[in-house]
């Protein structure tokens, strides 16, 4: 079934088509929500809200882009908007200076790469972290990120570059492990 057929069926209220549309996108949306929150319940809430919203807005789809692109832009936008409202989930967020202090010689006290990696990523400014998670972890393209965040593609690239630079500093003493 091609996209136009699927869309026609969804608009006609065909439950199987709705489920097919959901199945085609839910993994990617849920994965992003989970990566950003680190919390199963929140990730589920955001994913559900995203699809409720997407289905209710389906009539606005004009066919200017592929349905899958539109669907993913809408759902991702809802997830990211929701995240802005609940920053409190980021309880482990740490100040960048604090992270830098940790990086400067505390390796013996904190030898776990996973823990340091989490702190370093959590310590990134929101915009940097979002782009880093979407691009380097979940494999979104800069165009997809730009569409979901409502920014220019160049902005996404610039933020990713800065995010990577900060992570290089934070994780410098893990260079051998990371590169290996």
């Amino acid at each position: 079934m091609d996209e136009s057929q699927l869309l026609a069926k969804v608009r006609a209220g065909d439950p199987a088509a709705e489920r097919a549309l959901y199945d085609a996108h839910v993994d990617r949306v849920y994965r992003l929500a989970y990566r950003m929150t680190g919390d199963e319940a929140l990730a589920q809430d955001f994913t559900q809200e995203a699809f409720i919203r997407a289905f209710s807005k389906l009539h606005t789809f004009r066919g200017d882009s592929a349905l899958s692109t539109w669907m993913h832009t809408v759902t991702t936008s809802v997830v990211l908007n929701g995240l802005r409202k609940v920053k409190k989930f980021r309880t482990s967020e740490i100040d960048l200076e604090q992270a830098r202090a940790v990086a400067g010689g505390a390796r013996r006290a904190e030898p776990d790469l996973q823990d340091r990696l989490r702190k370093a990523i959590d310590g990134l400014p929101d915009g940097y972290r979002t782009v880093f998670v979407m691009h380097d972890i979940e494999g979104y393209t800069h165009d997809e990120i730009a569409g979901a965040l409502g920014v220019a593609s160049g902005t996404s690239k610039a933020q990713l570059s800065r995010a990577r630079a900060k992570l290089r500093i934070e994780l410098a003493d893990f260079a051998e492990e990371v590169v290996a």
Binding site: Y22, V26, M36, I52, L117, D136, K166, L167, A175
Partner: protein, 231 residues
């Protein structure tokens, strides 16, 4: 040279790329690694929410028929004013069981001409409840996703006017309906006065909707009669 450049220089361009790739790979494995997607659980919730609350936003877009709906409501209420206590052609008795929207039957009165509610009023009220439910559903969904429509105030104003028309009509004596309309009036007035994208006010209205169970009461009011009110 700042820390970043110093660090890049220390690593060299190729090593920098390898380092970035290594960090990305480590993050894919270690940073909030997602469990298996709970597809069916989430789908159940999505379907339930859509069945209960969410209706297509197209139903509220300011189309020309909005004016026709508003006009029909006004005519209904005016006819209600003119025919309350009038002849049987335009009214349905409480006792005849023929009401399609029993929630708007005047239960405050007990007999005779005062015991009937004009059909035109019942139809107008039922349509209004249906529209208002759609609108408040849209408001709640938008409020929770931080994407309020800029035309919200205008639509709320139309609905507020109609709510007040129904409240003022002598045909609208049913105490339950009056209480529902009064609560609607309050919420709609809050939305009309909502300052652009004030998250606190939006949250207060959303909480008010939740605590007063307004959407549930709107659904219940319509569910007690056949669904003959859709336009």
């Amino acid at each position: 040279m700042n820390d970043q450049n110093q660090n890049d220089a220390d690593l060299g361009e190729t090593e920098t790329d390898r380092f970035d790739a290594g960090v990305a790979k480590a993050a894919q494995q270690m940073y909030h690694a997602p469990p298996e997607t709970p597809r069916d659980d989430m789908w159940t919730v999505i379907q339930a929410a859509r069945a209960a609350d969410v209706v297509p936003i197209r139903r509220f877009k300011p189309q020309p028929w909005w004016a026709a709906v508003a006009a029909a409501l006004v005519i209904g209420v005016v006819l209600g004013r003119g025919s309350i206590g009038g002849g049987p052609d335009d009214v349905t008795s409480v006792a005849d069981g023929g009401t399609d929207v029993p929630t708007v039957v005047d239960r405050a009165t007990s007999s005779g001409a005062a015991n009937v509610v004009p059909r035109s009023y019942r139809v107008a009220a039922a349509r209004h409840l249906n529209r208002t439910e759609d609108f408040l559903t849209m408001f709640r969904v938008d409020a929770r996703s931080d994407q309020l429509d800029t035309d919200l105030g205008g639509w709320a104003k139309l609905l507020l006017t109609d709510t007040r028309l129904l409240l003022d009509s002598p045909a609208g004596g049913d105490p339950e309906l009056r209480m529902l309309l009064s609560d609607l009036e309050l919420v709609l007035a809050q939305i009309v006065q909502l300052r652009a994208e004030d998250p606190n006010e939006v949250e207060i209205i959303d909480d008010g909707l939740e605590s007063s169970q307004l959407l549930f009461r709107l659904k219940a009011a319509q569910a007690t009669g056949p669904a003959t009110v859709g336009l």
